[in-house]
Symmetry: C2
Subunit: 442 residues, 2 copies
């Protein structure tokens, strides 16, 4: 039997409709990758007796229990109290944790508020876990609630996702790998393919036969048109596990061809930024319906100022003409949402910015503004390139995201998919450019 883990997310916002827990989902594949079977996720409000019972339930049924949230300075933050109650220990001040909070307030040039001293309180026998991203130290505590005759171990981590991720990776994961090994779990390795522009059902039809085994196990995660395919394999040693995962990932990638954005788990903006830099390509955008989302995506990547010049977010028709030189007559004749205007926006953006390539978008994001002929979700994108030493290239893409546009989040989904589709088309062009240069240059 595999070693077992459970995740307890603490916070009233998780059970009153304000927020869905997402920490559990991010921890699941990491735990699975170490050989743990995740038995339960539990969400519980900031009420001491309920948290105590949730921790007891989890600790009696799993070797490792990960708590997230409730480590802040306010009176609502009572994870430390609940852990102490379950362990039947008193709280005491952990000097390192307290010094860390003080240091952050010092750096901000502010006095530490009195209630932040609570963030230094841990159960007596707890061991602190440093937080590189915020004030709240986490802690580890071994509990005398045995599961399978072994002491259960709990880790209390902050609820803020990027703080939790950093603490888990730096301090918890190494300990858990050793624990999994001690509990007899085999070695696991994972490989992640990133795919864009295929529906889950199309993807399923294409690769279902490669996803049926328990080992290597294949799992899919879909978000905004991007699918992350994670292949996890076991082996007698890490090398064998890695080879097993890689072989299956390669077989899947073979089937999916150009839809594969990356074979190493990088997302689309990162891959595009890397290709821009490797090909020495300078980029501009011209955005209407996405309202700056394409630029916001690519500028997530640090150091992108080497390649990315500007985006003209031309929401009004006047801005399209004044900023990009789109002929007002063209807008009048074809409408602002048309292949012709998309094309004129892209070439205008390229020429005016001096970029090697420009990508434009114009569409009807909704919820209003659609017609029978041009429904909500209709989007035109154009790519226009004239790189130094390369072939001029231009193309217009039409997409109808209408089926996705229904419901309250439809507008945001149309916009996000449009921005991602722009980046994906650019990726394919950049890959071609890189390949052409390699061919040409030997």
């Amino acid at each position: 039997m595999k070693p077992r883990a459970a995740i307890v997310a603490i916070g009233s916002e998780l059970v009153d409709g304000r927020l869905a827990d997402t920490n559990g989902q991010r921890l699941d594949p990491k735990l699975a990758g170490m050989g743990f079977e995740v038995a339960y996720h539990v969400c519980v409000a900031d009420r001491l007796p309920d948290i105590v019972e949730a921790i007891r339930f989890a600790a009696r049924r799993a070797h490792v229990v990960i708590l997230s949230g409730g480590l802040g300075p306010t009176i609502d933050d009572i994870t430390r109290d609940a852990a102490a109650a379950v362990a039947e220990q008193e709280l005491r001040t952990d000097e390192a944790a307290l010094a860390h909070v003080k240091m952050i307030f010092d750096a901000l040039g502010r006095e530490m508020p009195e209630n932040n001293a609570r963030q230094g309180l841990f159960p007596e026998k707890a061991v602190g876990l440093p937080n590189s991203r915020g004030t709240a130290f986490g802690f580890r505590l071994d509990l005398d609630l045995p599961h399978d005759g072994l002491t259960s171990r709990i880790y209390a981590l902050p609820g803020v996702p990027h703080e939790l991720d950093a603490m888990f990776d730096a301090h918890v994961a190494p300990q858990l790998r050793m624990l999994a090994h001690a509990l007899g779990a085999p070695n696991f390795s994972s490989s992640t393919l990133v795919v864009f522009g295929m529906s889950e059902s199309k993807l399923d039809a294409a690769i279902a036969d490669l996803c049926r085994d328990d080992d290597p196990a294949v799992s899919l995660n879909v978000r905004d048109g991007t699918v992350r395919i994670t292949v996890t394999a076991s082996g007698d040693d890490v090398e064998a596990a890695t080879a097993g995962a890689r072989a299956r990932a390669d077989a899947i990638a073979e089937r999916l061809g150009r839809r594969v954005v990356d074979r190493d788990g990088r997302d689309l903006p990162e891959v595009v930024a890397d290709l821009l830099e490797r090909t020495g390509t300078r980029l501009a955008f011209a955005e209407s319906c996405t309202g700056g989302m394409a630029a916001a995506l690519i500028t997530r990547v640090g150091g992108i100022s080497k390649s990315f010049l500007e985006s003209a977010v031309t929401y009004s028709n006047a801005a399209k003409s004044d900023r990009l030189g789109v002929d007002p007559g063209l807008i009048e004749a074809h409408g602002a949402v048309s292949a012709e205007v998309a094309q004129a926006m892209a070439s205008g953006a390229r020429i005016r910015s001096g970029a090697d390539v420009a990508v434009s978008v114009t569409g009807i994001a909704g919820p209003d503004g659609g017609t029978a002929e041009k429904p909500v979700g209709l989007v035109y994108m154009a790519i226009d390139a004239s790189p130094k030493g390369g072939q001029p290239f231009t193309e217009v893409i039409e997409r109808r995201f209408g089926a996705l546009a229904r419901g309250g989040h439809g507008r945001e989904r149309v916009r996000a998919l449009s921005a991602m589709t722009m980046l994906d088309r650019l990726r394919v062009w950049l890959e071609d450019r890189l390949a052409a240069r390699s061919d040409g240059g030997g």
Copy 2:
């Protein structure tokens, strides 16, 4: 004490990283609105003993347990088996449920596969709940696992969100309203304040004394600098509950003054869009480090094209000069990240776009590019206004988000906080403008 509810979501995809449970989040406010306190959400894989234990845990601690998922026809779908095991009942065929499945296959012109007959199997004493959206009937089952001396009641609902929602609203909600009434639940009402630009600890210090009661209860939710403060009060009738929640929310708003973005739960982009429309103000942005995020935020709001003209996302220095008319000498003298350049970007954006007000931003988002004098996280924002019939106004804001900028997500946090701060400064200016016009116009 309030009647209590728990939600158990069943499915391996919920604990292996493929999916985050969202059914719980949608049910939470519905249950709270009936007077139930949601004690737990539990997610569990498709493993019989684990599901049995999860149901037992929940049923011993809540008057009502809602199960979602695991009612399909495949061998993985074992919610019916788990419920029968907890209730110590046999499974038997529910003729209405089976006839429903057969009818759907008839309508599709297909033979019912043999394993779909499983969808007619319920624990002996269960009562079926019709499904208007799919094949799976749900069921209700009263369990002999008393909580507070009362029999716990479970509802098993399909996991597909729109099927669950329809079944809950049509068949479960009416029964639960009666149960809540029988258990003596009062009426509840909530009021939500949205606040920007205060740390959680400062907020806590300002309003802690107003947040200590159980009724009205006050809860805080923080994200990207925005705090949502939800006040929930009970009353003999809905009017009394609403008045109680509103009175406490007003007392909190009084303390926080201009930090309050909205008293009705609307977020910053919505509030700004509304103020722009009510004041007839036309807006432009000039963005460097945010790379289009401010424009992306405001264009989330449908119909914003009436007020929002454009954003110049001028990432390179050349773009700042060419697009906004920023003097290259100014950039050379003070650096692209400076109060002077922020100011020039804003006035350039306003004049060139013809907008009434422009807001600009330039900063060092990191992770590289910082110096001792201008560290990562230093951001300058400027607002420049010259509205028709109003006073010209200009202001530069300096912020140091440095303490937040560390680590892998620091860049994204600096950018998001900068974009939100731009909108918030604009909100305050628009509120002043609205107030001045009201004063002037009588």
